[in-house]
Symmetry: C2
Subunit: 337 residues, 2 copies
């Protein structure tokens, strides 16, 4: 069944059928109705390859995910996937390693699959306009904030929580409960704007309250917010003998690893050490103890990313930047001292 068959069956030309199917004007209501009615009943499935060929582009939106051990992305992916589908597009998913270059990966993907748009999940912090110009289609950087000014506002679109505020709030919460010696567990700072910003929030909150950040309390975990790396990192910190009453984990997955390391040392949470995370993963609501964390709404952010990309695809010239406010979710992993 092709549009040629439809044309023949309806006694019209193929171009007319094409116009009807694409909601174009220049078709009389009478013909439009006739064609539409026939199409509805004949089980016609458009041939995307043919459309893509002549338009020399596809209907696919690429999603590049960096940091696959990060459960937060898994939570977002479902929303993103279903919204992309609902909008009539196809999602092309691409996982990359934490040390890979997502812009390059996205650019390759774009050309190979003839993407019309891209969503990046888990960004570095040091994009340059030159790099980004490799990408020839609209894109949204989700989970990325250009806090360090390597880009101007018009260079990109973004959806993220205010990672700086999240780090700041987390630490402020600890301080408000009497903590002064607060360790920080952050994934490779240079790899991610998220990590970097949350760390900066940590430092700022400390300074704001008259506490000088202590190099000894800052542990840089490898990887991309993965649990095992966080565990190892926390273990090393504990064995270093440095004193602290609480841990600021740069993400919930990091917190999960950290909590385990603490417990394995025979220490209790929050009895001996308090732990706070950022992300608000579902699973940490069911952890023991329940993690106190700053929630970034996965579904909301996924939805906003897709909607923003779609509006860019429709030609909206105003590249927007959405900064969601993180919300404190009080668990049982932090105590007053």
């Amino acid at each position: 069944m092709t549009i040629k068959d439809i044309a023949k069956a309806c006694g019209v030309g193929v171009s007319t059928v094409s116009r009807v199917l694409n909601n174009r004007p220049d078709v009389s209501d009478d013909v439009r109705r006739r064609v539409l009615e026939f199409v509805d009943n004949c089980g016609y499935i458009p041939n995307n390859s043919a459309r893509d060929l002549v338009r020399s582009r596809s209907d696919a939106i690429g999603v590049v995910v960096r940091g696959t051990g990060n459960l937060f992305f898994a939570e977002m992916l479902k929303t993103i996937s279903s919204l992309i589908e609902k909008s009539g597009h196809t999602m092309v998913l691409h996982f990359i390693d934490s040390d890979a270059d997502e812009v390059k990966a996205g650019a390759i993907l774009e050309r190979e699959k003839k993407l019309i748009g891209l969503i990046f999940l888990g960004g570095r912090y040091d994009y340059t306009p030159a790099e980004l110009s490799l990408i020839g289609v609209p894109y949204v950087c989700c989970t990325y904030t250009n806090r360090f000014g390597s880009l101007s506002e018009e260079d990109y679109a973004s959806v993220s929580i205010d990672d700086y505020a999240a780090g700041y709030s987390a630490v402020e919460h600890l301080i408000s409960l009497g903590h002064r010696r607060i360790a920080a567990l952050v994934p490779s700072l240079s790899d991610s704007s998220v990590s970097e910003l949350r760390y900066c929030g940590y430092c700022a909150a400390l300074k704001e309250h008259g506490i000088e950040p202590d190099r000894e309390l800052i542990a840089e975990a490898g990887g991309c917010f993965e649990i095992p790396e966080a565990y190892d990192c926390m273990k090393t910190l504990l064995e270093s003998g440095v004193e602290f009453s609480s841990v600021f984990a740069a993400s919930d997955t990091v917190a999960i690893g950290a909590m385990k390391a603490i417990e394995d040392k025979g220490l209790s949470i929050p009895g001996d050490i308090s732990v706070i995370g950022i992300d608000g993963l579902v699973v940490t609501e069911y952890a023991n103890p329940t993690l106190t964390t700053l929630v970034q709404p996965a579904e909301e952010m996924g939805r906003q990313s897709v909607e923003m990309l779609l509006s860019l695809l429709e030609g909206a010239k105003t590249t927007r930047h959405l900064l969601v406010k993180p919300a404190l979710r009080i668990g049982a992993s932090v105590r007053k001292i």
Copy 2:
């Protein structure tokens, strides 16, 4: 840059270039080398739309995931995605709700995207040959075992752990440590072969050891191995006043929810109640207490699924069935009584 350009540049015909690019015979070594050399240096990107159009099929493999809250699938997806990519195909991911029909969804997806193959993650237990015949391309049912004989071996291909054995071993482990009153927490039995089989393993192990399964100890959670549903289900069971010393959770996510419910009631694990799961999620290695579970190797199973599908695509007539043996991972959530 098209193959026509390449043909012109190399002084050969387009069909020759096409043959070279597709590794076809009937090309002299000399010409082949010349074309290949040129192609390597000119940054040619094949136009998939054109290829798909003339072949009237794409290069895409569909992955239909049912039960999105199940973290196990998230762990598999990365492997599946990267292997599909590495094989030169495109992955089309499709999440469906726990009450949706994955065969129908797969069939639609197949036609719309002109898929060449499908992988199903999270299957029902009651497929019929008639239903499956809706799917016109090779497919692999991952996480599905045709234990109930509605299908014959040639009707499908599958990769899964021996879910029956997993349920059996889990319960046997509990019994070997002195447990006799073992509650079972299973997601909607009728929805999933996995759930059903693990439950059967549970019953069989009990009977084998002279314990009659007690209806009161069996709690059916809604949903698809989701944490919150499991929590609610466990909570209800605890409040029902039935006595038991341990819980057989049909999956690790179920176990996570169950453990939380138990702790929220002020009971300790494994002090008051032991918990055993199935899946071997990374996150449960870092739970408190570490979950005792039967590991199904996510990466291995993802790899096998893709490889099996690829071999089917190459025309292998032997539909295979892989049944991975689950491995007991001892944690701290079960105690001897």
